[in-house]
């Protein structure tokens, strides 16, 4: 399957394709606005997901005691992880786009994707924190450090590679998601680059969908779709690859 995409897609990709706006009714030109849109959407997603996710994980791993509250949070996280992505999209459409009047925009899309990846970031970060040996904390506490000082200087730095791996995987997931963003953030055609978070945008994933199903001239644009698929795959798979590299390096460098 991957071979189909590489053999059909590679011919479409060249410098113009990656750096030009779509031209001639989207039958020629490039996909720059879609690439930029995907990057903005994923950056927006991290901007929300990383602080909230890591802070939640720190609370759960370092502060919270076993009890009802933790059980409730855990089941909330599991539930959130099980929600189909189209529901995130519909929810985002209803709440962010219409009710809060953010419109079809990068902000709405990032928020919808944030809800989608939050459970992934929390679980990965919590796992990473819990993998830091107990003695690291005890050492700091015994020297009179406060709890936050302990976490900040003796736990977080060692959990960082694990947290990063989880976050990158979550971002890769967000970059490829289509259903939430077609309801909250993207347009079929918007050749100008977005200049504010409240602008709508094009994105690679939605571009594939629109071009493959809604473009009036389906056969003529097919090579461009193959090219877009290959670009998106390249982006998502290289993110996955980076995550795996960080993970193996970290495992090798671990001395405790």
């Amino acid at each position: 399957m991957i071979w189909t995409f590489i053999s059909n897609g590679i011919g479409a990709i060249n410098w113009t394709f990656l750096t030009d706006i779509p031209r001639a009714g989207m039958t020629a030109g490039g996909i720059l606005p879609a690439i930029v849109g995907t990057i903005y959407l994923t950056l927006g997603t991290i901007a929300f997901a990383l602080p909230v996710g890591v802070a939640s994980a720190i609370y759960l791993a370092e502060y919270a005691r076993e009890g009802r509250f933790v059980r409730v949070i855990n089941s909330a996280i599991t539930n959130l992880a099980g929600v189909p992505s189209i529901i995130h999209g519909l929810f985002g459409f209803g709440l962010f786009v219409t009710f809060l009047r953010f419109g079809t925009s990068i902000l709405s899309g990032s928020l919808a994707l944030f809800l989608l990846v939050l459970p992934i970031v929390i679980s990965a970060s919590r796992e990473a924190l819990l993998n830091v040996p107990r003695s690291f904390r005890e050492g700091a506490l015994a020297l009179g450090a406060t709890r936050w000082q302990t976490v900040r200087h003796n736990v977080l730095p060692y959990a960082l590679p694990g947290i990063l791996t989880g976050t990158i995987l979550a971002v890769a997931r967000a970059a490829g998601e289509t259903a939430p963003i077609i309801l909250t953030a993207t347009f079929f055609f918007r050749p100008t680059l977005p200049s504010s978070p409240l602008d709508g945008t094009m994105a690679l994933a939605s571009h594939i969908y629109y071009m493959a199903t809604q473009h009036p001239n389906i056969v003529q644009v097919r090579p461009l779709v193959y090219g877009t698929v290959l670009t998106l795959l390249g982006m998502v798979l290289s993110l996955n690859f980076v995550a795996i590299v960080i993970r193996t390096r970290h495992r090798r460098g671990k001395k405790w």
Partner: protein
């Protein structure tokens, strides 16, 4: 203790206090979000039941929300579409997934395992719209050539692409469970003279059955909630037919197609949220069942 030091300590305590509160607040966001999604879906979906009864929604045979003469909001054709392609997908992916998991966990050479496991992870990372495009362009053509069907995009096409997407989920979970079966079990079985195949069938599979069941349930939840691939592969005709070569339309595809065009607050708008509640309820049940099975598993083995 002099004044300076006292003040320093007080600031320190204050900081600790605020940091803890901040972390606590972040942790509650997940709860708030889940409640918000629930509440929002219900508040937006409920109005539809003022106009049509729940029974009508659940048993109506026609989904024609934009009909000028008489709009119909029966969810049966959509539920049927979702169920038929999920059934096809599970029929293919469960046996295939379990076989691959057994192969990776029990039979494969360590080197093979090193290659196969990341490959499965990689397949799980491919965006669903890419699978959808593959189904739309390539798979649909193959199926058409094989069966000579007139509707290129159909339930079979959707079911097969969904199976390909669910297999990595089932394989990676099932393989974890199979690998975690204690080594002693296998050694005992082999020591009693059982062959490798007998050991797998009589010892390894039964003792990992609950975990495999959980993997299947999670795969099911994933299949039901999948949108893009299904949307692009099935042709999206809201008809009830048991012929797998007919086009079908799923709940998820309906939400994706109709939401961008719906008028805010209209009956149709609220019917889409009612569909989302239905979908949410189905996936919730399956994820819940899976979590019970996983909890049982954790309790019994350790």
């Amino acid at each position: 203790m002099d004044k300076e030091e006292q003040r320093g300590r007080r600031d320190q305590n204050l900081k600790e206090f605020f940091v803890e509160k901040l972390l606590f607040t972040s942790a509650t966001i997940s709860i708030i979000v889940v409640i918000l999604i629930f509440a929002f879906l219900f508040s937006q979906g409920a109005p539809v039941f003022g106009r049509i009864s729940i029974a009508e929604f659940l048993t109506g045979m026609f989904w024609q929300p934009t009909s000028v003469i008489k709009p119909e909001f029966g969810s049966v054709p959509l539920l049927h579409g979702t169920m038929i392609i999920t059934a096809i997908a599970m029929a293919i992916s469960v046996p295939t997934g379990v076989v691959i998991a057994v192969y990776i966990g029990e039979i494969a050479h360590p080197l093979e395992k090193e290659i196969l496991k990341p490959l499965v992870e990689l397949l799980a990372g491919v965006p669903s719209v890419v699978y959808g495009f593959f189904a739309l362009v390539t798979l649909a053509t193959w199926i058409q050539q094989l069966t000579g069907t007139t509707s290129r995009l159909n339930a079979l096409n959707g079911g097969i692409i969904l199976a390909i997407m669910v297999i990595p989920t089932i394989v990676s979970l099932a393989e974890d469970v199979i690998t975690s079966v204690p080594k002693e079990y296998r050694e005992a079985s082999i020591a009693l003279g059982a062959s490798k195949w007998e050991t797998i069938r009589r010892v390894v599979l039964p003792s990992s059955a609950p975990g495999i069941l959980a993997a299947i349930l999670l795969g099911f939840g994933r299949a039901i909630g999948e949108t893009m691939a299904v949307l692009m592969a099935t042709g999206n005709a809201a008809i009830v037919s048991l012929n797998v070569l007919d086009s079908v339309r799923t709940i998820t595809a309906t939400i994706a197609i109709e939401t961008p065009e719906v008028a805010f607050g209209s009956l149709h708008y609220s019917a889409l949220f009612a569909l989302a509640i239905l979908l949410f309820a189905i996936t919730f049940v399956f994820n819940y069942l899976a979590s019970i099975v996983i909890r049982r598993l954790g309790g019994s083995r350790r």
